[in-house]
């Protein structure tokens, strides 16, 4: 069933081969009250040069998915199943299987992360330049100091900062500047995959737009693929090519951004889009009523059941699977017969 999730390769950017294939990923957190299935069978492709978004509310598993690809899940969390294939010229590497040593080599050089809350990800007692030294020397120990300085200056210019920023400490930078330093660090070794986990969630609109423009131009320059994780549909609409909608640890809809906005298929996606405030009307509030389900010992069936305006009896009993519901769009909802597994 998981193959259907990304079986067809439609659309312009989608003719390109996948650079990363996440296949049936399961991440569990062991708690003293039971197992929390934070990511429960997530599959998607990230294609070369593509911008793919993962959207969902807190606890939907979007950040856990992103951090799994970085192999940054810490106990009590554990990747318990699935593959994360990084495709390259010499074949594919399964990020779920390789040694910690190998993970360290690939981080930054092949896959890098722009973390959520850049405020806390720089070392407060070290200057910006020390962060570049650490990052570069860990991968290229023979690089000379002057070459590192040159490279760091180049990177800072690329993200729209002055090279003098090198000399500063993190507390001397504004939030937007810190986030740009984090982007510069993430692209130091020209990775092929950039994972951005809510990179602008703490910043105001103008700075947010600048950061996203910076990320877009860097991505184009490097030809890298970007996985953008967020909960702001407006921001994602402006940035990504394709979008995956997560709910309670599962992908419930995947499609190109245009298709999803033009014709959302899953009721959750429909509610997410109609809940967006617009400048078209005043005083109209549409949220997604209800609260996300607990993922602790989650029941069978569709976990959106309680909040779904269109739920049916079958939704309680059978878990819908992600299936093609339109040419370039998949959804996991019993409203579409394809989503109902034949043998259950």
């Amino acid at each position: 069933m998981m193959q259907t999730a990304h079986a067809n390769a439609p659309r312009n950017a989608s003719d390109r081969p996948a650079i990363l294939t996440v296949d049936d990923l399961h991440v569990h957190f062991q708690t003293n009250r039971g197992i929390v299935k934070a990511v429960d069978g997530v599959s998607f492709d990230l294609r070369e040069g593509e911008r793919f978004g993962l959207v969902g509310e807190s606890g939907s598993g979007k950040s856990t998915t992103a951090l799994s690809i970085m192999r940054m899940i810490k106990p009590p969390g554990r990747i318990v199943g699935g593959k994360m294939l990084l495709h390259g010229k010499g074949g594919s590497t399964d990020l779920a299987q390789i040694s910690n040593e190998r993970v360290r080599e690939l981080r930054l050089s092949s896959v890098s992360l722009i973390p959520q809350g850049s405020m806390n990800s720089l070392n407060p007692v070290r200057r910006v330049r020390d962060h570049f030294d650490d990052s570069i020397l860990a991968h290229e120990p023979k690089m000379t100091k002057s070459a590192i300085r040159e490279r760091a200056a180049e990177l800072l210019t690329m993200v729209g900062l002055s090279r003098d920023v090198e000399k500063l400490y993190p507390h001397e930078l504004s939030g937007g500047m810190k986030q740009r330093v984090c982007i510069a660090l993430a692209i130091t070794l020209e990775p092929r995959v950039i994972i951005a986990d809510e990179p602008t969630s703490a910043l105001d609109v103008v700075v947010q737009r600048r950061i996203m423009e910076t990320l877009a131009s860097i991505q184009q320059k490097l030809g890298a693929s970007v996985l953008l994780v967020g909960h702001d549909m407006g921001l994602l609409a402006q940035f990504v090519d394709r979008l995956g909608v997560m709910y309670a640890g599962k992908l419930v809809e995947v499609g190109t951004i245009h298709e999803i906005f033009a014709a959302p298929k899953h009721p959750y996606t429909q509610m997410l889009i109609s809940s967006l405030p617009t400048l078209a009307e005043r005083g109209v509030f549409r949220g997604v009523p209800g609260i996300p389900p607990s993922l602790l010992n989650a029941p069978d069936g569709c976990l959106f059941y309680d909040r779904c305006p269109r739920h049916m009896d079958i939704c309680r009993q059978v878990t819908p699977v992600l299936a093609d519901v339109a040419p370039h769009q998949q959804a996991a909802c019993h409203l579409y017969p394809q989503s109902t597994p034949t043998s259950s």
Binding site: V205, V206, R209, R210, M233, H258, G283, F285, G287
Partner: protein, 360 residues
Amino acid sequence: MSTATQSTNLLEMRNVSQIFGDPTQGGTVALDDLTFSIASDKPTFTSVVGESGSGKTTLARILLGFQNPTKGQVLYEGQNLADLKGQSLRHFRREVQAIFQDPFEVYNPFYKIDHLLDVPIKKFKLASSRKEARVLMEEALSAVGLRPDETLGRFPHQLSGGQRQRITVARAMLLKPRVIIADEPVSMVDASLRATILETLRKLHEDLGISMLYITHDLTTAYQVSDNILVLYKGRVAEVGDVVPVIKQPTHPYTQLLVSSIPLPDPNRRWGENVVEAVVDDRPASRVGCAFAPRCPHAMPICTEAPPPLYRTEDYRAASCYLPATHHGTTDAAQSTLPVVTGDITQTFPPARPATTPVG
């Protein structure tokens, strides 16, 4: 200092300036000579918008009495806030409530929700028995759309961010305040839950006649909930007035920049179609001319010479910008015939809409 008789304002700030750091070195001007009021006769819903460092949180802190301004004074029912003591201070603390940004940090994790709601009930003696207190709590929780049986008896960590933020709203309304000052109440809450919180604020405003001051950097939500808007830039008023024309046809280039930076939830419309470049300026504002001039695509020589006055461009709006002035019959802004707003900027707000405006 007895202004009590002539004042009809519930809460007002007169010529308030706030300077951080050493004033002899210039300091950082967080608010620059702002006069603003919240009327006592009719409830208002006003948004204060601006980017980080525009002074919007400083404005909230000063109005809440957390901070004494460097210059000017804050009056509550005509009395200087700094002079309030004992009974009158308690009265102020009850009538003016605050909601803060982070619903994860405002709670003591060791106390249940019951305790959190019980403290104000005891402190202000709102109930004479345990039973009555319980009824009050249940009413407040229901008013913000929470089920009391699912909320009471729980710890904060057992609730979602949206629920926690609604509990702060419930706690505020328990006291039947006349003003709620909400500083970025939804920026830490999931996008899908924002609408419910804003709807609650709007309902409290309409049903209970509570005046709201909604502080945000999000223009879309400001447009949705409020009637009036105040756009701050580096401590000064950039634009002010009726929220509809200000956001639909912004006059000030800074408001234009803010509006064009809203990420539109529509992949067919490009972000920032507007001409204004999203330049970020981290330097302290020039105090000589217009603070926005270094970033402004329309800057003229006069903009760096003297700060523009607040021109009343239409009945219910005003902007601190020479641009509309020069378009108004003269090429020399100094010769402009546009009226200038002095004193309380709320005079640019339209008359309060009837409380029966249908919502939703």
